[in-house]
């Protein structure tokens, strides 16, 4: 009966490993391969840490299983009278310290690429494609008129849409992220991009979609009862399609309804 507990805990650890291994096969994994170069780097880091933690997890549980098997209590048996080992303490302090420090330093670069303005693509930074204003419970998007630069304040020829952010694919683009009321978070799961929208701040966010296609835009910071309603979409398009879209947007937005009447 006493071996039962060894098997119990080992089985749970084995099950954990199994669940993690079949996760991708069941679709319970990342929403596809990262769709941006930065996302790819983040994924690589994820797998690096997964390898390190996976080995640690399996190692610790193997030791635990061995202990529970080997040292199960028996009548008349007596435990070792032992208070610790200086050598072991030093070893198991220094080795993890080294590993952790390595992880920390190794990824500074990716972080800098994501957030340090000096590391942004300077041309994209100078020409943000849009200002995205989060509000309860939608994303209001303001584009500069084709050929113009986005200004901090609304301009008479700005173009507006809601929830559907269009951007050219295959090159880094910058948006300016604002909030009109409470905290929101601009989350593109496929591109591995997330940035809170903070009221009172205008935060530049850059991303690059590899493929021209539609990606989900998710709000990831609690913003009230309708938090779940903030479904948005990033439509990445080839540059030509994007330009055509902007032209069409301009025509729709400044439609005075006169042509229809003339058609009668």
């Amino acid at each position: 009966m006493n071996r039962f507990w060894c098997l119990f805990f080992v089985a749970s650890a084995v099950l954990a490993v199994v669940v993690f291994s079949i996760g991708p096969a069941c679709g319970w994994w990342f929403p596809g391969v990262a769709a941006s170069p930065l996302g790819q780097q983040i994924d690589d880091l994820f797998y690096l840490i997964l390898a390190i933690t996976g080995v640690t997890f399996i190692g610790v549980h193997a030791v635990l299983g061995y202990i529970l098997w080997k040292f199960t209590g028996k009548d008349g048996k007596r435990a070792d009278f032992q208070h610790g080992s200086h050598t072991l303490e030093v070893v198991w302090s220094i080795v993890p310290a080294g590993v952790l420090l390595f992880i920390a330093l190794y990824q500074m670069d990716v972080w800098a690429a994501f957030r340090m303005k000096s590391r942004f693509d300077q041309e994209a930074l100078a020409n943000p494609i849009a200002e995205v204003t989060a509000r309860q419970f939608e994303w209001r998007i303001r584009y500069p008129a084709p050929g113009k630069v986005l200004q901090d304040t609304p301009q008479p020829d700005d173009l507006y849409t809601v929830n559907d952010l269009h951007a050219p694919a295959g090159k880094p683009v910058v948006i300016k992220l604002r909030s009109e009321d409470v905290l929101h978070s601009f989350f593109l799961p496929h591109l591995r991009v997330k940035q809170d929208a903070v009221p009172g701040l205008v935060i530049p966010v850059w991303f690059e979609a590899n493929e021209p296609k539609a990606y989900d835009l998710v709000c990831a910071e609690l913003c009230g009862w309708g938090h779940y309603k903030m479904r948005g979409q990033l439509t990445a398009q080839p540059q030509a399609d994007f330009d055509a879209y902007m032209q069409k947007l301009k025509e729709t937005q400044f439609d005075d309804g006169f042509k229809e009447a003339a058609g009668e």
């Binding site: 309860q136 113009k148 020829d157 809601v162 948005g232 937005q253 309804g257």
Partner: protein, 411 residues
């Protein structure tokens, strides 16, 4: 202990679970206020005819009379005219229950659980009154108008955009909303008619008192039965009439000829046009500034007045406008650049031309020309920019734009 204790726990848990899982009562559409004031017998007449013609939330009835695309379903043998429920109606209901229910309520009465915290309050469709539409006056909106509201959302309110649901699902939702509105208005009119015929508890007590004075032997039941018999006798005819009226109304809204379009092209939004618009905005004829204020901030002198309650000779306790649904409403602050009906010139044109049904915003005077309406629109669209330039594609200042590009790139 051991097993006995275990079984106690299991039994306890099971009985707890069972206590909550009796046979659920059939959910119903909440009755309207006009129905709840009726005497019980009249109330059940209303609810019976509603259940017969429109069904319950879980079992809808598609009344083919109305101009709604229900989707195909097998006609039932007993009543060839009324279908069981069409798949489009059912799907629309399912979508509505996920996306709309919490604000607009099961019955479309604008009384969902979240509604009372929202400003402005969600629309009560049952009155059949819609603010955002292309048609004039009290006409019904077209399906395309409902569609547009769902796609664009209503900026400045909690009505979000559902554009990502796609055309198909938005179409289903628009039709279900239309159906709910017809159902609600049908109920309102039916119950309202019975109320006018004296079937409310209050009226009945009054007429009983009157009749007692001339005839001491008359009983309350006799008075009630007399009124109800009249109502019952006319009921089939009333139902047909009401249904016909609603059909006509919604068909009229759908008619493309009834959509408002300008007869002249938008006047170029130059400084002169903005100045002319400003003059009209402030003028005694057009009087925009009475409500919207001289600077367009929505703080005109009329907002300080006490407004009379509809069908009553009393006024509201607090100053300020009320909308059709009795909720406080303020004239739009035009300097914020938030346009609930949309920011296209045609949207603003329609608002100025037709007014906004269900609100104190009136249609503009007939004497004002098309060009003058455009001047007002140009002025309104310039307010977010300090009245200096009006929202426009801005072809004219392209050079200026390029200068800005160069400047920004250099910095």
């Amino acid at each position: 202990m051991r097993f006995s204790s275990l079984s106690i726990i299991c039994l306890g848990g099971m009985s707890l679970a069972l206590a909550g899982c009796g046979q659920p009562p059939e959910p119903l559409f909440a009755p309207s206020a006009k129905a709840t004031v009726l005497v019980p017998a009249a109330q059940s007449l209303v609810s019976e005819s509603l259940v017969e013609n429109f069904g319950t939330p879980n079992k809808l009835v598609a009344w083919q009379q109305f101009p709604i695309n229900y989707g195909s379903a097998e006609p039932t043998a007993s009543d060839a005219g009324r279908h069981d429920e069409g798949w489009r109606l059912r799907e629309g209901r399912n979508l509505y229950m996920v996306h709309c229910l919490h604000c607009h309520g099961v019955a479309g009465d604008g009384a969902g659980s979240t509604s009372r915290f929202l400003n402005p309050r969600p629309r009560d469709y049952r009155q059949g009154v819609f603010k955002f539409k292309s048609t004039a006056g009290g006409m019904k909106p077209s399906t395309a108008d409902l569609h547009r509201t769902l796609v664009e959302g209503i900026p400045g309110t909690y009505m979000p955009s559902f554009v990502l649901l796609g055309q198909e699902q938005i179409g289903l939702l628009a039709d279900y909303v239309k159906w709910l509105s017809i159902r609600g208005e049908f109920e309102e009119k039916l119950a309202g008619g019975m109320g006018k015929a004296g079937a409310t508890s209050e009226e009945l007590r009054k007429s009983y008192k009157d009749k007692r004075e001339s005839d001491k032997s008359i009983t309350y039941e006799a008075v009630e039965n007399e009124i109800l018999d009249d109502i019952r006798k006319e009921l089939p005819e009333t139902l047909t009439e009401r249904a016909q009226d609603l059909t006509d109304d919604w068909l009229a809204g759908e008619n493309p000829e009834n959509a408002t379009f300008p007869k002249a092209k938008r006047v170029l939004p130059d400084a002169a046009s903005i100045a002319r618009g400003r003059e009209l905005f402030l003028s005694k004829d057009v009087k925009c500034s009475d409500c919207h204020g001289p600077t367009g901030r929505g703080d005109g002198p009329m907002t300080e007045q006490f407004i009379k309650i509809t069908d009553s000779d009393r006024s509201y306790d607090t100053p300020g406008f009320r909308d059709f649904w009795g909720q406080p409403i303020v004239p739009r602050n035009l300097t914020r650049g938030v346009y609930r009906f949309g920011r296209r010139p045609i949207d603003l044109y329609r608002k100025v031309k037709n007014g906004i049904h269900g609100t104190p915003m009136p249609a503009i005077s007939n004497r004002v020309t098309e060009e003058q309406i455009w001047d007002v629109v140009n002025f309104v669209m310039s307010l977010p920019f300090g009245g200096k330039e009006s929202a426009s594609p801005g072809e004219a200042d392209r050079d200026d734009g390029e200068a800005k590009v160069a400047e920004a790139a250099g910095s």
